[in-house]
Symmetry: C2
Subunit: 467 residues, 2 copies
């Protein structure tokens, strides 16, 4: 082989210097042809588009051609020529073809149109398909948009711990982390397991949220965001739940609930706009193959203001709907936690726009949320999206030490390991707000995929930790 430098397919497809010699490397999507000429669609993952390789039959051995099967890995050197029939502007007339890796007929991605369930059992190979290539290039782009947005707005990326000794947020069931030998568990006189010889000298778990530590960052650096894995050991086998997922949690000193809503709306529109600008080919593919209303929905979100509505008003609207004959599975009344059907009614039927619901009853929200003057509601906000339901949850935080402590005592929250959190309210406390966005929820929305297991490379769910 000549040592001319490999060029990525996304770049070769943009070139117009016909007649130049180029080298591409990638995996065979299809090979077809006649007695005189073979057409090979080659893809290297840099784009959803293939480059067409044209190989004259009289220039290449039959033995070589036989090895060019779907999934095989090739290095191709040849001349860049204008294309008439490949769907692209250019194709490559092959001068040399080297098979870097053969691929037998037992290749799991051999057939087109396999079910999503089948794909999941081959998550290591589904990455090579059009659909999952598109999803994970978009996932990358959404992560870039997140970092870019916050960096441009003066936030600092803040790494909160994954292993934690505190468990008071109550956001969900936790995974225990231990180095103890489970075959030799020492117990004390009262029959309690002795954790003094565990790695951290006490019981530890995987974090369910970085928010509390994020507040430490915000009340020092001013504005921070987290973007890291979080964990829920809930036995939920649904298309919306993962045991391991990535979460983004901005937290801002001096922001009130209104600033917080502005931030959430501006941020999520920025992400969706980024996808529309940077992922055109992949979105066009998904719009065609997965969800024909995808592009319409994305454009709609960036072009329209979100509705901002107090929970109490939302309940009134839902009660009115019930009065007018609308049926819901779950009852609706002031104080009820909204079910997905209620959220979707408000978003998809009533307002036909994303809705930010605010000022929820304190009973259904977390202890750290700032109490309103009515003594009944807290400065919470949930951003509700079409199809997805709740995509963001956040609040202004209770910054008053006495009020926070009263709430903690009222709810009997175990604060023994939480002295550091309370210190933020003891030393130069300040108003502050923040929210959490489940990254995979965003990816679901932006790709039109239906199951959260299909927007993370290797999903962790009950009884499943493959790969």
């Amino acid at each position: 082989m000549e040592t001319i430098r490999r060029i990525k397919i996304i770049d070769v497809l943009k070139r117009e210097d016909y007649g130049s010699e180029v080298n591409v490397k990638g995996w065979v999507r299809t090979r077809r042809g006649s007695k005189s000429v073979h057409f090979i669609a080659l893809n290297d993952g840099s784009t959803i588009n293939n480059v067409q390789i044209v190989a004259d039959a009289d220039k290449f051995d039959d033995e070589l051609i036989k090895l060019i099967t779907t999934g095989a890995c090739l290095s191709v050197t040849g001349e860049l020529v204008q294309s008439v029939g490949s769907g692209q502007a250019v194709e490559i007339r092959a001068r040399e073809i080297e098979v870097l890796g053969t691929c037998g007929s037992d290749y799991p991605m051999q057939k087109k149109g396999q079910s999503m369930e089948y794909m999941r059992t081959h998550a290591h190979m589904r990455l090579r398909t059009n659909t999952f290539g598109a999803v994970f290039r978009i996932r990358h782009n959404m992560a870039m948009a997140v970092h870019r947005y916050f960096h441009e707005h003066g936030f600092f990326y803040f790494h909160t711990p994954i292993i934690t000794a505190s468990d008071c947020e109550g956001a969900g069931q936790m995974f225990q982390v231990t180095t103890k030998n489970l075959y030799d568990l020492k117990k004390d006189d009262e029959g309690k397991i002795d954790y003094s010889d565990d790695f951290f000298g006490k019981t530890t778990s995987l974090t369910v949220s970085g928010q509390l530590e994020g507040e430490l960052g915000a009340t020092a650096l001013g504005a921070i965001y987290t973007f890291g894995p979080t964990f829920r050991a809930e036995n939920s086998n649904t298309p919306r739940h993962l045991a391991e997922f990535w979460m983004i949690e901005p937290e801002v000193a001096f922001n009130d609930i209104h600033d917080n809503m502005d931030l959430a709306e501006d941020f999520i529109k920025y992400c969706v706009r980024w996808a529309l600008e940077h992922c055109q080919d992949d979105l066009a593919f998904l719009n065609k193959m997965i969800d024909k209303t995808l592009l319409e929905r994305l454009n709609f979100v960036v072009e329209n203001d979100f509705v901002r509505l107090p929970y109490t008003k939302g309940i009134e609207i839902l009660e009115e709907a019930v009065k007018n004959g609308r049926k819901f599975e779950f009852p609706i009344y002031w104080g009820a936690d909204l079910a997905s059907e209620h959220e979707r009614y408000l978003v998809e039927e009533y307002f036909k726009r994303p809705v930010i619901l605010t000022d929820y009853p304190k009973e259904i929200k977390a202890f750290y949320m700032k109490m309103n003057d009515d003594g009944k509601t807290v400065r919470a906000m949930d951003v509700l999206f079409p199809q997805i339901g709740e995509i963001i949850g956040g609040s202004e935080r209770e910054e008053n030490y006495d009020k926070l402590m009263a709430r903690i005592e009222e709810l009997n929250i175990p604060m023994k390991d939480m002295w550091w959190y309370l210190d933020t309210r003891r030393f130069g406390t300040c108003p502050h707000s923040g929210f959490g966005l489940g990254f995979e929820r965003l990816i679901l929305f932006v790709t039109g995929m239906q199951n959260i297991r299909d927007v993370i490379p290797f999903p962790r769910t009950p009884k499943n930790a493959e790969f």
Copy 2:
């Protein structure tokens, strides 16, 4: 208070529209003054620089002034005026001061010059100091540089799993992850714990590296990188080890070991250059207070080519040094794993430049590294840095199925859960390479800090999972 919009201190310090009314919010660093005027240094975390607030004594109550103590949180509205004595171009002549949060004399960051050990026990409050503010703003910037570099070079950010059922990489001791009730552990007839009712239906651990899954991404998307937490349950109480740390692992299809070295050198120089360009104030502070050779060292790295040297040559140089009377604690011979003293001799004394050491004996490197034709060495590369030692470790990977299997059998590596990894070599295999960079090692290098516990917000080490 008027509702004029808060401006961040980093922005107010750039303004020149003297006479304008501005609002700033932040924490008091110091207050000093005379009978007629008070000077307050205010910081909001957006920059290491404070803005000076000038408060005429006759305009403000003594009772209010008494509350303006170190650590208190203020909202200040006043006139932007040109400064003569504050060290900055502007200061603010206060019209209104509101104390948002008081701060008593028990504020843990009251005194200057506290020890690093003391700071660690108050990791939630050390974030508010100059040193740690600088460190974590730089940490943010290094994360931005990482994402920016790979995005600009066509890599995709790829989230590999944190919870894993495979444990074959052998990179270190692992933490077990479980939802089992440790007070009621069922055992089978052979006395083995039954994990069928554990959350994932088998034993699982926290990942020590995303590389193997990263290879799945690279052989589909072409070029990926990971940037996520990794874990080692090693009982190492050193200034260089964390139980939980962040790792960056690029992996590139079609790259050989030389491409891999080019990538590592270009990437790390990009990061250091980013720090020099984007973190000038914070670096100047650290250069003055923490390490007076910091800026010199950073500039040196970006301006000089790294030495590329086979391990065998490195050993020769070290043996020659010993012959000439250089003393090392650990013996040096072909086949030995280099100790930190050896690496630092090559980098700091012999070459006085970063060194990429390549082609290590196979016995001291991982099973997946590509064997050289000599049958004795593998295509490994370690990037060695002044002060830090090994900052990057990587290799070209063995892409040949038979050779890889032979090595796996030779080393008795448990591959039962690794069928998916081998599939990359069975279906369209390709040459590929990658490396790992411990993010905190990079931050140590770029900040001049001495202890790895001081460059991550909340370090996890043996017996320590506070905050």
